[in-house]
Symmetry: none
Subunit: 234 residues, 4 copies
């Protein structure tokens, strides 16, 4: 009899957003219909336009919400990891975890988010940059600390990291295969890091001094002895 407490705008908005997320995860943008979103949100189409300008803005809001959650989840945990390899393993595993939580998210992000011509400089691009910053920071820090080669191009490295993840997910998870984020992350980072790592002091040490020592030694030897040495080294 007494009216239910009036729903605040934010509640309604959240309902619509939740419904939109469901639908956008289930269908490609073009095929996702406002009508279906309204149905799931328990309101009518017109109502949605009271909260969002149009379909695209609603989609952007859904993606924003996702990125915000993702970044909020990563931030504090990332902050306490120091080593370059550890950080990369964490970030890669966290990225792969997305596909475990809902395999559709990466599809949506890759396919739809970057589809629009207006992507660069847009809202979604900013969000993606914020997310990618974790990797960029890891790489710059790694270079600064000497854990990564000084001549590594961080942009390029980032592209190969995310691009590789995208393709691997598409070919693996996209085909219905399971994956263990932690184990896969370890393997990926190992593969990449061996190439991106700065030549460690100890790795080069064994032979860096040798040439010099040999030269010195050999210089001292008699011509005869030297001749014999040359013979033996064949």
């Amino acid at each position: 009899m007494t009216a239910l407490p009036k729903r605040r705008k934010s509640v309604r908005r959240a309902e619509i957003l939740a419904a939109a997320r469901e639908v956008f995860l289930a269908r490609p943008y073009e095929q996702a219909s406002i009508t279906e979103i309204a149905e799931r949100a328990g309101c009518v189409v017109g109502t949605i336009y009271g909260y969002f300008e149009n379909k695209r803005e609603l989609f952007d809001a859904v993606v924003t919400e996702f990125y915000d959650g993702l970044i909020a989840d990563i931030e504090p945990r990332f902050a306490v990891i120091e080593g370059t390899a550890d950080r990369l393993r964490f970030l890669v595993a966290r990225h792969l975890q997305i596909t475990v939580d809902d395999p559709s998210w990466l599809k949506v992000l890759d396919r739809e988010a970057r589809g629009a011509e207006s992507y660069f400089g847009g809202k979604l691009h900013q969000l993606n940059r914020r997310y990618a910053q974790f990797v960029m920071r890891t790489l710059s820090d790694g270079i600064a600390r000497g854990e990564l080669r000084a001549d590594l191009d961080p942009q390029m490295a980032r592209d190969f990291l995310f691009g590789g993840l995208e393709h691997w997910v598409r070919n693996t998870v996209g085909r219905g295969r399971r994956n263990d984020p932690t184990a896969v992350a370890r393997e990926m980072v190992r593969m990449l890091l061996d190439g991106w790592a700065a030549a460690p002091a100890e790795r080069a040490a064994p032979w860096q001094g040798l040439e010099a020592r040999i030269a010195k030694l050999e210089g001292r030897l008699k011509p005869a002895a030297r001749a014999r040495e040359t013979e033996a080294s064949k």
Copy 2:
């Protein structure tokens, strides 16, 4: 009212194909319209259906034509390159060349790979596999010859190569920046190859011999001299 002057079937087909290529390069599949293709081809929609069963088949024909040309171009040149690094540099540079010829191609290819669920096992997937075979062969050969680590996962490596290329292209060319395929390819391959390279055991060979030479040399020297050497090497 009256039909255009008759043309040879193959000519008309080529015109439609060319028009379709233009349109499919300009818009995502869903947004590309048969009507627009017909307009650009200078015929009516009905005519197109005399040459292609439906929109999807037309799209497939466009992509097939592209892949066929690409593969035909690569095949003979790839066949005469032997070294793993050389092969990779060639393949990466050739891939980047696509974006120079028409920056939209890779967008189309990637978009559609992500598109229809029927992708895997389909026509386009086959073509993509044929193309990717150049990389896969390079990787297997590299492993067989000991130029790449025996425990390298070729699928994963391929995913990171193509995925990385895709992202890099999107972020670079996609933003209207120019690129020099050869130079970029060199940098990319260097970055990846240092990590994919064969394990230290084989790679160390050049300096493993040095140890022996040093030992021999040092064994011959007087203890006094040896003491002095040790001092100097600090």
Copy 3:
């Protein structure tokens, strides 16, 4: 540009239904176009799809409406008629009355029954069965009461009744000739009933009693009178 003034949903629905009835009565299903229905309903095609899922459902709704009205009209009047002949005359006359109200109805009904292979078991088939039940009940009751031959096949009888009506209507009304349902029904039922009627044994009852009365009477008369009677009856 601007929407027509809002109407109550049921009103619009009725308008569309009425327009659809007109069109479906005028053209075979395949040739009836949604566009034309929309025009007659005074709305755009899209509006129709707000009320009906698709063309078929709209058609079914039109036919359903018709059958519902027909059955509702027949039911109470049929309920109070007992004799088999009376019932049949009523049902046949009512059926013919349809053609007087709108000569196209029977064409539509027959056409569609012959149409989709999915007819049997479908919605329309159910409706047709409900309607045909009046005849089937009449026939079974008639057999049960001994007014119809025990070996009459009710299905076959029903087929000949409705089939005959269909052909007769097609050849008579279909050619623009008028008909008086009541008179024609009487003639039809007479034609059929003489054949479907119960066997002579039961039918003879009315005059079987006469024999007895005659025998009694004659038995009282003088032989002379009786002789003369016999003579005269030749």
Copy 4:
């Protein structure tokens, strides 16, 4: 090497006709396509228009061919049957035989042939009339010979015969049930003929005279006796 003997026009025409028959039997008129007919006939669409004005004319030719064959088959056999019942049984059985030979024919004839508004007076109507003449002749002859009631309306009887057959076939054969033309024909004709038959002399006789006799008798009786009779008849 030597050219095959040129096909005469009639051969080509027959091929097209045969192909058209196949297609029109397989699909409703609207869905039967000239292209498919051309394919089955081993020629191209254009060729067909060299032999037939348009699709409708081709359809009519197919139906004509069918009716011609049917009539030619019936004519000589019908000519030697005299009795009304025998003739009807023959005609009904022959009609049902059509469904055994190819169950689609009656569907085609009923659905398509009479669909066109231009049916009456048209070619197909003429053919149907010729076919129906066998029944009409049987009925008139039957009346003339006294085998059928003088007041039987032959048109109406014919409609019920063919209409009944059509419905019965639709409900029986159309549902995939088998039928034995001869047996079914016997049952149908029995059902109809008992009703259409003229009242045989002996059937009416028993009571036709009785009334008269009773009247006479009763007229002679004394009022007292008559009173008693009335009492008893209750």
